[in-house]
Symmetry: C2
Subunit: 151 residues, 2 copies
């Protein structure tokens, strides 16, 4: 935890941004909820627990900043809200998601499944890939079992 904060601090400094107490509190919340896909509002409420004086605007600004620095990825699953997802340590690309259409759960795939596809896109379409967003919609393991049970 402390190491990752230290690292993020350096990333900020390298672009001459500071790790203010508010920013640190926000980053800590993100680290503590790495598996979740929090909206700005979610983050705000959680940060408020440890830094009650923080303003919503600051949370938005911080998340925006972290997005620019590729520390978090902003993602949208089709409900009206943006969600913020911490990049895995050392990850070059954004990880993938499995969204269950039955229960709404979101699972992550950290492994990069797109290397082959990306080289095809670069070669056949002449498009220089910098990053990707890949989400599968379907039925998660758990809901498949439920379906079998109830049928």
């Amino acid at each position: 935890m402390e190491q990752r904060i230290e690292k993020i601090k350096k990333q900020l400094h390298s672009q001459s941004y500071k790790l203010t107490p508010q920013r640190e509190a926000t980053v800590r919340v993100l680290l503590e909820h790495e598996e979740d896909h929090l909206s700005a509002e979610d983050v705000y409420l959680l940060v408020k627990e440890k830094a009650p004086e923080i303003g919503l605007a600051t949370v938005y600004r911080t998340l925006e900043l972290l997005s620019e620095l590729k520390i978090v990825d902003k993602i949208n699953f089709g409900d009206g809200v943006s969600r913020y997802d911490l990049r895995k340590e050392g990850a070059e690309h954004f990880h993938h998601h499995l969204v269950c259409v039955e229960c709404g759960s979101v699972e992550e795939i950290v492994e990069d499944l797109l290397t082959d596809v990306e080289s095809r896109v670069e070669k056949d379409w002449g498009f220089q890939v910098k990053d990707h967003r890949l989400t599968f919609h379907g039925v998660c393991k758990k809901c498949q079992v439920e379906t079998v049970k109830s049928s």
Copy 2:
């Protein structure tokens, strides 16, 4: 064009929805702008040209309905707006997108590049894939040339 409208009409009827004049006008706009990625507002303005009395709410409802029936796909490129993209004829899955980070252009890949990846996901993660969203962010062919020129 007429054939595709006829087909969509049948799809609607099969779920006991009607193809009202407003809905038809909306579908026509989508068909005429198949290559674009229109927002609800864009669609509204275009529909208004041929059916000036239509209301914005109706456009939203129609797009929502068409989404449910998988006639269009709702997509979000990270700016605050949802965009609506007509499915290609007979396409099982949603097509892919190449978004240029320089000029903002959006190119489509109709070919399905994910069949292998999807069978891996089904096998290794036990997730039953129904559909996908794949977007690459990078530099399009045109902007790559521009960069070379200006350097």
